[in-house]
Amino acid sequence: DTAVSQTPKYLVTQMGNDKSIKCEQNLGHDTMYWYKQDSKKFLKIMFSYNNKELIINETVPNRFSPKSPDKAHLNLHINSLELGDSAVYFCASSQQGMGTEAFFGQGTRLTVV
């Protein structure tokens, strides 16, 4: 029973296209995140949502737009994809409160050609 699930696992697309990545968690957590992992394995937080409300929006291009229809889902839509967007995108969730850990999905490997 997967706790944090992302779809798709792999995504290959051409420059200029628009794509979405979906994330769902069944842990009852109230906070969800999107992280980007680059080719050097560096993990950078992109967005954080708490109870469907955006609370962290790091310096991410406007082409990236998260959407949280409910607290169990956090989707990531990317417009006008660029080569530099190629990376692994991880969704994660946690329960708000000090000291709780984040649970991660398996990641979506996005390749822009």
Binding site: V4, T31, Y33, Y35, K40, K41, F42, L43, K44, I45, S48, N50, I55, I56, F90, A92, S94, Q96, G97, M98, G99, T100, E101, A102, F103, F104, G105, Q106, G107
Partner: protein, 111 residues
Amino acid sequence: AQSVTQPGIHITVSEGASLELRCNYSYGATPYLFWYVQSPGQGLQLLLKYFSGDTLVQGIKGFEAEFKRSQSSFNLRKPSVHWSDAAEYFCAVGPGNQFYFGTGTSLTVIP
């Protein structure tokens, strides 16, 4: 500002040898510290965490970590490495509902 530094980018150890991965953090208040492991093509799995209390914490897969406030460190250790421990290891600091990761340490285990 909070940050995490992992000095070793790549580490190679022999199977059966001991392991220590270093992590230094910068955070203004009481840190909440984590070690995660990422196997190839997988997501991140929590190894252990420190919130308060005993500064030596035990985790899964035989790992332990020691919090040293005076050194702002949270080093990960394992007395005897197995080939299946080859993976990427990340230290993170989480002041609540934000998690900031170090650059990771890639561990190679040779027979």
